[in-house]
């Protein structure tokens, strides 16, 4: 009994530790100036809903632009990454095919030897990608870990299914599109989530390669507003009373975290059900 209570208390504490910061940030972003002043800063108990901070950051200006940039990078990047990873994983899923062993080693060796930051920087800038959004996508477009997860999944698809399609004269591309992909929706969704989160969260790569602040992705803007303490540069809203800075900052945090929190539940049930666990277990 004591064990039960202790476990209940522990789990409640763990859940609260994750959710409380999110709660405080959302509530503060929706608080009015009076509520914030009264609380002396962050707000724990919501009093009213005041969306003026969101109106401010969405009325053009750097935050709006950064969100568009991040959305663009995430969409294009995820599409490129998922397409190329699925293709390569399928291409590597046939032991005994031409050069299979060598190609597999080529991919797996990336776990053991890797480039340092300086040579990578020289290669990317040498290719003229400085200030190009492709610099946020191409260097990290292939995650060999994701590739291995997909490959493991493809290899567990019954071979008879693919063989019978081959007898019917289907080529490999057709087999991949018509048979393998429909069977792999869940695992591809999880891999796509991993890639998308990676692109949405990109910060350091943008620090390295993007100097033009018209092309900053959202994490870069978040960092400069909140951690480096610059004030959000919001155009629009001339003459109207500015909402409190703290509310604006918290609103920036909310819009940066929102896509992750919103997409997460749809994909998360797959890895709880064991897509990743199964792959990890080998």
């Amino acid at each position: 009994m004591v064990g039960q209570v202790a476990r209940g208390g522990l789990l409640t504490g763990v859940v609260l530790a994750v959710l409380l910061p999110l709660w405080v940030v959302v509530v503060t972003s929706l608080a009015s100036r009076e509520t914030i002043d009264e609380a002396g800063g962050l707000v724990l108990v919501p009093r009213e809903i005041d969306v003026s901070a969101y109106v401010t950051i969405f009325s053009g200006g750097q935050v709006t632009r950064a969100l568009w940039i991040s959305a663009l990078v995430t969409t294009v990047g995820t599409a490129v990454s998922v397409t190329l990873t699925v293709l390569a994983a399928y291409g590597l899923s046939r032991p005994g095919s031409v050069a299979h062993r060598g190609l597999l080693l080529y991919f797996l060796l990336t776990f053991l030897v890797y480039p340092g930051m300086v040579p990578s920087y020289l290669v990317v800038t040498g290719l003229g990608l400085k200030d190009s959004l492709w610099a946020l996508i191409l260097p990290s477009a292939i995650s060999v870990f994701n590739l291995v997860v997909l490959r493991a999944f493809f290899q567990n698809i019954p071979g008879d299914l693919l063989d019978s399609a081959r007898i019917d004269g289907a080529g490999e591309f057709r087999i991949l599109a018509r048979i393998v992909l429909p069977l792999s929706r869940a695992v591809i969704a999880v891999v796509a989530l991993f890639y998308a989160v990676g692109y949405w969260n990109v910060w350091f790569t943008a620090l390295l390669y993007i100097d033009d602040n018209a092309r900053f992705p959202s994490q870069r803007v978040l960092q400069s507003f909140i951690l480096a303490g610059q004030s959000p540069n919001t155009s629009g809203l001339v003459g109207a009373a500015m909402p409190p800075t703290l509310a604006i900052k918290m609103a920036v945090v909310v819009v940066t975290v929102a896509p992750v929190v919103l997409v997460y539940p749809f994909v998360q049930r797959h890895f709880v059900k064991g897509v990743i666990v199964g792959a990890v277990r080998g």
Binding site: V18, W203, L222
Partner: protein, 357 residues
């Protein structure tokens, strides 16, 4: 129709061996690959396979599929890996119009950068900072996902368990910028904790910029972000433990703690060893963005680790060859560490990250 012949079932493609899925973890991908490679080698007997031309005609679509990903890795992984040789140069970015020309025009200086590096106190500060943070986290971070997995595994209600799991996994998907932001809002000088302390008439202290407690702070951040996600692997391993073992132990009169000690922990042992090896191999990485983001707040003395050292030397100050030398040092030591840790694991009778083929 020879093409049709070649794609007949059994025309050379074996169904991949799925293998008995033991309780292993992340690194088993490498191991699985190793198994496939060995299986492929076994099959390579002269005369058993169709000639190369026929196989090429059969397999070219697979090669086409692999090509784009392989090309990206070539350009953005292997070329820069070879590019580590700038560590042996006095690389001058202005020696040419492009990095390539500058590379070709820069003089080779042998181990000059390394000699300078090893006599640079700032490098050793970063080195020892990194190692002490790794050691601290080995004690105060590493066991937490295991404990959390055991607690989660004990939740009987499937719905409650799924709920708690999804909550604790969530912060793994937040960026470091966000995680540090949350910590600033909670524990910073103007954060919720300081606010509450002030309201209670107490003197708040600023946890976020105190170099003395920085190691505790970064560990707390790492725990908040990743301990939940880290439990995934251990939960998978726990689900493979035969429930009969628990019943037998209970029948023999073993209490809750004895069952934990004699059934649960031995069941987790291969995974724990595997993750320890991976952590050891990564002993010189303690997280990069996390430290870069907080370096200015707490100062270089406490927050400079090897990765941030490489960044500041190699890129911010433009001392490319020097920074590359520090990066190469880290990569080589990491490779040696992981090979050594794996050898120790084999000596102790564990499977390790990969087995020798």
């Amino acid at each position: 129709m020879s093409t049709r012949e070649a794609v007949r079932p059994g025309g050379g493609w074996e169904t991949p061996d799925v293998g008995p899925g033991g309780a292993s973890a992340a690194g088993s991908d490498t191991r699985r690959a190793g198994r496939d490679v060995r299986a492929a080698r076994r099959r390579r007997r002269p005369g058993r396979r169709p000639p190369l031309r026929a196989r090429l005609r059969r397999d070219w679509p697979l090669l086409v599929m692999v090509a784009p990903a392989a090309a990206l890795l070539l350009v953005f992984h292997y070329v820069p890996t070879l590019g580590n040789v700038v560590a042996f140069q006095d690389y001058n970015p202005y020696a040419g119009d492009s990095p390539l020309q500058a590379f070709l025009a820069s003089p080779w200086i042998g181990f000059g950068n390394f000699e300078a590096l090893f006599s640079d106190p700032a490098f050793w500060d970063a080195f020892w900072n990194t190692l002490s943070i790794t050691a601290f986290q080995l004690v105060f971070y590493f066991p937490l996902p295991i404990a959390l997995a055991i607690v989660l595994n004990g939740i009987l209600s499937a719905r409650l368990r799924a709920f708690v799991q999804s909550v604790v996994y969530l912060p793994h998907f937040f960026s470091w910028v966000l995680v540090v932001t949350f910590f600033v809002q909670m524990f910073g000088g103007a954060g919720l904790l300081a606010q509450t302390l002030r309201d209670a008439g107490l003197q708040p202290w600023d946890i976020m910029s105190n170099p003395d407690t920085f190691v505790v702070l970064v560990t707390a951040e790492a725990v908040w972000k990743d301990a939940g996600w880290g439990a995934v692997v251990f939960l998978a391993a726990l689900s493979t433990i035969d429930p009969h073992l628990y019943e037998a132990a209970a029948v023999d009169g073993a209490g809750r703690w004895r069952r934990l000690w004699h059934v649960t922990l031995p069941g987790l042992r291969p995974v724990i060893v595997l993750l320890l090896i991976l952590r050891l191999g990564d002993a010189l990485s303690v997280g990069f963005e996390q430290f870069l983001l907080q370096r200015d707040a707490v100062g270089r003395q406490a927050a400079e680790v090897l990765d941030t050292f490489v960044y500041h030397q190699g890129i911010t100050t433009g001392n490319y060859g020097y920074g590359a030398a520090a990066g190469l040092f880290k990569a080589v030591v990491g490779l040696v560490l992981i090979l050594a840790a794996n050898r120790i694991a084999h000596a102790l009778g564990e499977r390790g990250v990969y087995s020798r083929s």
